[in-house]
Every structure is written in C-alpha cells, then in structure tokens.
Amino acid sequence: MSVKLKALKRSIWLFHFNSGSCNNCDIEIVDCLTPRYDLERFGIKLVGSIRHADVMMVTGFVSRQAAPRLKLLYEQAPKPIFVVAVGTCACSGGIFAPSYNMAGPVDKIIPVDVYIPGCPPKPEAIIMGVVKLLSKLK
C-alpha cells in the first residue's frame, strides 16, 4: 500500500451536502461526531469547504433545484473524491420518488461509491458505510 493511500485512509475529511433531505439524515451524520461515536478517533472530521474534502456525504432525494449544484460541487472537489449516499432518499428516492420535483436519486447525477440505506440510517450504519468505503480503497 502506498504512503499516500495509507494517509488518506486515516484522515478522511467529510463534506456534507443536503440535496433536499428532510434534515433527519443530516442530524444522524452530525451524531457520528458526538462523544458517543466520536469519529475523530479515526481522523474523520467534518469540513466546511468542498476544496478540503475527501468524502462527500449526500443526503436527500436531489431536488431539481439542487441537482446542478450537486454536479458543480462534485466537479469543484479536488480528486480523489468519494461520494457516499446517506439515507434511503439518496439511494433510491424513498418516499419522494414519485414527486414532481425529483431529479435524483444521487447516482443519476454523480457517481456514488457507497450506499447507506435507512430512514434515517443509524450512526452505526453510517460508520459501517464509511468503513466499507475505506476497505474498498486501493
């Protein structure tokens, strides 16, 4: 394993994008950073700018308003960037799938590396998803 990859695996910076979620998934993501789960143990932290990010966590069903912005953000990110779809909405559209303003789900707009289903997924499930992503990296 190269040094670069090893460092990347131990220092994942998350960028969180809400593409029209009901805000519940977002709360669960923030929950991962609380004392109970403390993702900083593994070097994972939340950053505010997409330019600093290694992993983009997308929640929500991607509304028509959000779709071009999601695409833009993905293009603005420094490579390598990985995308995690958090929540049933992001994976498949969930309860919003038949609605008129749906442009998603996420993998219709940008390539997705890991899907985490659940409405909302528990923090354990999100951590599991990130671990799966890390073990996929080569």
């Binding site: 460092a7 403390d38 900083e40 950053v47 505010g48 700018s49 330019r51 290694d54």
Partner: protein, 307 residues
C-alpha cells in the same frame, strides 16, 4: 553550511514542524478530552499533512503566483523566527542588534499571508474572512507590540534577544515583577488571537464562513498553510517563554522545567479555546483597544517606574 543545517534541520524547519505537529495533536486531544471524547491518534497531523500533499491542487483562475506564494512565505517566516529564537536560546551571544524587531515583524507575516492568499482566491466568503482578519490584525498587533516592549525597558533598552535572555538569567524572570506579569497577561490574550483560536477565530469561523480565507485552498498549498499554523502553535508560546520566562535551557533537569512551561502555556491557550464561545469582530476590537491596550500601557509605565 552550518546556517543551512540550522535553518532546515535543527532548530529550523524539521524540528519546528515535528514539535508543531505534536502540539497540534495535543490541541485536538485535549479538546476531545474536554468534550468527553477519545480524540485522534498521535500521528494524526502527519496523516493529514501527507494526505493533503497527495490531493489534487486547484488554483483559482488568474491568481497563480500569489495564491501559491502566500502559504510558502508564511511557512518560511515561521521557520526563520523559530531558528532565530532557538539559536539565541542555545547560544545567547548569537543574534544581532534589533533581532527582536525582526522577530515581531516576521510573526505578523503568517496573518498577512493569510490575508493575501484569501484575497486572491476570489471567493466571497474568503473576502469576508480577509476583511475580518485585517480588523483582527489591527486590533491585536498594537497591544502585542506595546507589551513586548516591557522586557526591553526592564533590560535597559536593549533590543537584542540575547541581552534580554542573559538579563533574565542574572536578575530574575520578567514575569516575576508587576509590570512583567501584566504584560505577560496582555501577550497571552494577543497570542490567542494570533493563533486564531476561539474566542478570536472570527476570520475562520467554521460555522459561518467555512474557514474564511482558506476556503479555496486545496492539496499542497492547504497542507503548507496548515503546517505553518501548527508551527506557530510551537513558535508563539516559545517566544512568550523566551521574553518573559527566561527561555528553555537544555542543561540537565532544566529541560523538563522548560517543557513544563511550554505545556502550561499551550494548555492554557487550548483550555480558553474550548471553554469559550466566539465573539463578534467589533467586540474583539473593543476588547483589544479599550481593554488590553490600556493594560499594556500601564505595564509600560510600571516598567519605567521600575516595579
């Protein structure tokens, strides 16, 4: 060749960077412990640094030279300050007349580099952060320099770092006198702002303007900015120890006492950081101009009287 070794290995770049990374880990770990978390492993800053080196570097259109030069100048100036202070600490006869003033100048360069780098990145949030950084710089720089002249007055008007140090070794530490203690308190408030730590992290304000000037930085330039910030975490407390607490001497047991001094100051700064909310920029300006500056002037007057 000697000066090259001095600058690059010890006590320059590599030494300062290593301790700076350790200090940054200490910062994150202590923050985590205060918040009842476990916190990152010791090598976390190194992982972050190497990872950032491996990422793609994105440079905004039309800003090439300055955008990349800003972090480098920040890193170089911090390294020079560290080299100068440690050289004088180990061999007090080294240095030149006026190196105190050079140090004070060089210590503002990281902030100025941040201002320039943020300004050329052409991002509205970055420019907001830049304007706040300029105001913050204006507010803390005045009391910082006034307070730094208390040791100069007490040592009989010498502006040579070596003289200040030997004077303390012979006549007792500056912090032991009233004027020195007051100036020390002022300087502590100023380094909190110089490090851009809560309550004075207004320019970076992660929750409102997303890291401000750093928002467009990615990859290697971001790594260099972060590294210079970590090194500042080592250099600024070191400078304060040097000016007010007689530096660190490397003879036998004294070195433990020196490390304790450093950890005390660093721990204090971090504890203030984790237990306070962020203030607004106008509150910070008022605090420094109407609170800290008069205190520093009182310290100067006391120093002239000889207390």
């Amino acid at each position: 060749m000697n000066w090259l070794f001095n600058f690059i290995v010890f006590p320059g770049f590599i030494f300062t960077a290593a301790i700076g990374m350790l200090a940054s880990w200490f910062d994150r770990k202590l923050t985590a412990r205060v918040q009842w978390r476990v916190g990152p492993p010791v090598l976390q800053p190194l992982y972050d640094f190497v990872k950032l080196l491996g990422k793609e570097t994105i440079i905004p259109k039309g800003s090439f030279g300055t955008f990349v030069l800003a972090p480098i100048s920040s890193l170089v100036s911090v390294t020079i300050v560290s080299t100068m202070i440690w050289n004088v600490m180990l061999w007090p006869e080294r240095g030149f007349v006026g190196d105190l003033i050079v140090t004070l100048y060089l210590l503002t360069i990281p902030s100025i580099a941040l201002i320039i780098g943020g300004a050329v990145s052409r991002n509205p949030l970055a420019s907001l952060g830049v304007s706040r950084e300029i105001k913050l710089l204006l507010s803390y720089e005045l009391p910082f320099i006034i307070a730094m002249f208390v040791p100069v007055i007490k040592a009989g008007g010498s502006i040579k770092l070596g003289d200040l140090l030997t004077y303390q070794w012979e006549n007792g530490l500056f912090i032991g006198s009233w004027s020195g203690a007051i100036a020390f308190a002022c300087v502590l408030a100023c380094i909190q702002a110089k490090l851009a730590y809560v309550p004075f992290d207004i320019p970076e304000a992660e929750t409102e303007i997303n890291n401000g000037p750093l928002i467009e930085y990615s990859g290697t330039p971001l790594a260099i900015f972060k590294l210079s910030r970590w090194m500042l975490l080592f250099v600024l407390p070191m400078f304060v120890i040097f000016m007010f607490m007689g530096g660190i001497s490397l003879h036998g047991w004294h070195i433990l006492w020196g490390i304790l001094k450093y950890i005390m100051i660093l721990g204090f700064v971090i504890l203030v950081k984790v237990t306070n909310p962020r203030v607004r920029i106008d509150q910070a300006l008022k605090f420094f101009w109407w609170g800290v500056t008069p205190l520093a002037i009182v310290a100067i007057i006391l120093a002239f009287v000889g207390v």
